[in-house]
Symmetry: C2
Subunit: 205 residues, 2 copies
């Protein structure tokens, strides 16, 4: 856990509660955490789920490597230490979003088990729903897709610390959902996710 | 501006837009940034505004020094450098919240003009509403209130870099709203804020 440097601070209980916001939204906040190799299909299924939920009038937001790294985490690189701090901050932001009541779709390679487990623990401590979604495809499938041309660059040695090539991906051991995107339709993937959300009572206040 | 370390990233346009979320919420996202001395009454008015907006069915969220410093910014202290990074990160989070569609009430001493101006600029670049609310009371009024006993400790030398005592507070030059909380009722303060939000069309989709 990151050291607590600031003293003289204590949690400020808002007068308006998470439950109040949940009633306004007719939903409960939750984090769906999509993890998997670059090119595994994390963003594709997150975008499709976002569309399906929006059509139902639900409030969602997608956090992903691109928009986060251009903003709050622009001062972080791809060393192991920076990757950990990257995921820690995103976990804290996801938690704030869940407190607002947003269905938060966090889509990050997030290759290290310990980092994902920290985010899970942060949510658990706050009594928040956390659903780990492992988008699991073989490396050669992801590399064949190579939608951003990153594997090619990594193989050429142009990108250091590239997950799957020169940096490890630690598979989830207890993900709530595993999606083999190369063997399923997008519609099937979305249905599985909507089902677990319904089962958990997230789509009502 | 903070150096952009991560490369190979580009803004990921979501398929669901800010406008879609605004329609679901029947409001527009905006940041109201409350700045002023410790004890000036920032949190008090932010809480009262939050209650008033919630009663109207609007989705709000308060970010404040206490809840942020226990979470995402727990690895930051109170040096000038850490204060700047603290406000930068909060500005980026506020921006994400506005993108969701939330009326975001960010309540921080935020003593440095350059830091507040950076947050304003971040919002401006993204076409987002940013309303700086200067809660302006004389130092002796804030120190008399001393709700957390911090001035007493600062005067005793127990807290270094304490704004107003051993660290500067740089007054806003062009705040959209100035509230002299020692000369106004809370109701008057809330009314002023609701009026500017109505004038800007934030309380409708």
């Amino acid at each position: 856990m990151t050291e607590q440097k600031a003293t003289n601070v204590h949690w400020h209980d808002g007068e308006v509660t998470r439950e109040d916001r949940s009633k306004i939204l007719s939903q409960k906040g939750a984090t769906l955490w999509f993890t998997g190799l670059s090119g595994s299909g994390k963003s594709t299924v997150a975008v499709a789920l976002e569309q399906a939920l929006t059509a139902k009038g639900k409030l969602t937001y997608r956090l992903d490597g691109d928009n986060i790294r251009l903003g709050i985490n622009k001062n972080l690189g791809f060393s192991a230490e920076d990757r950990t701090e990257n995921i820690r901050r995103i976990g804290e932001i996801s938690k704030l979003f869940v407190d607002v009541g947003v269905i938060t779709l966090s889509s990050f390679v997030s290759p290290y088990r310990a980092d994902r487990d920290l985010v899970r623990e942060l949510h658990k401590q706050a009594g928040m729903d956390f659903i780990e979604v492992y988008v699991d495809v073989p490396l050669d499938v992801a590399e064949d897709r190579d939608p951003k041309g990153l594997y090619k660059k990594a193989r050429a040695g142009e990108i250091p610390n590239f997950t799957g090539i020169s940096d490890p991906y630690e598979e989830p051991l207890n993900a709530e959902v595993v999606l083999n995107s190369h063997e399923m339709t997008l519609e099937q993937e979305v249905d599985i996710l909507l089902q677990i959300m319904t089962d958990r009572g997230l789509l009502a206040a």
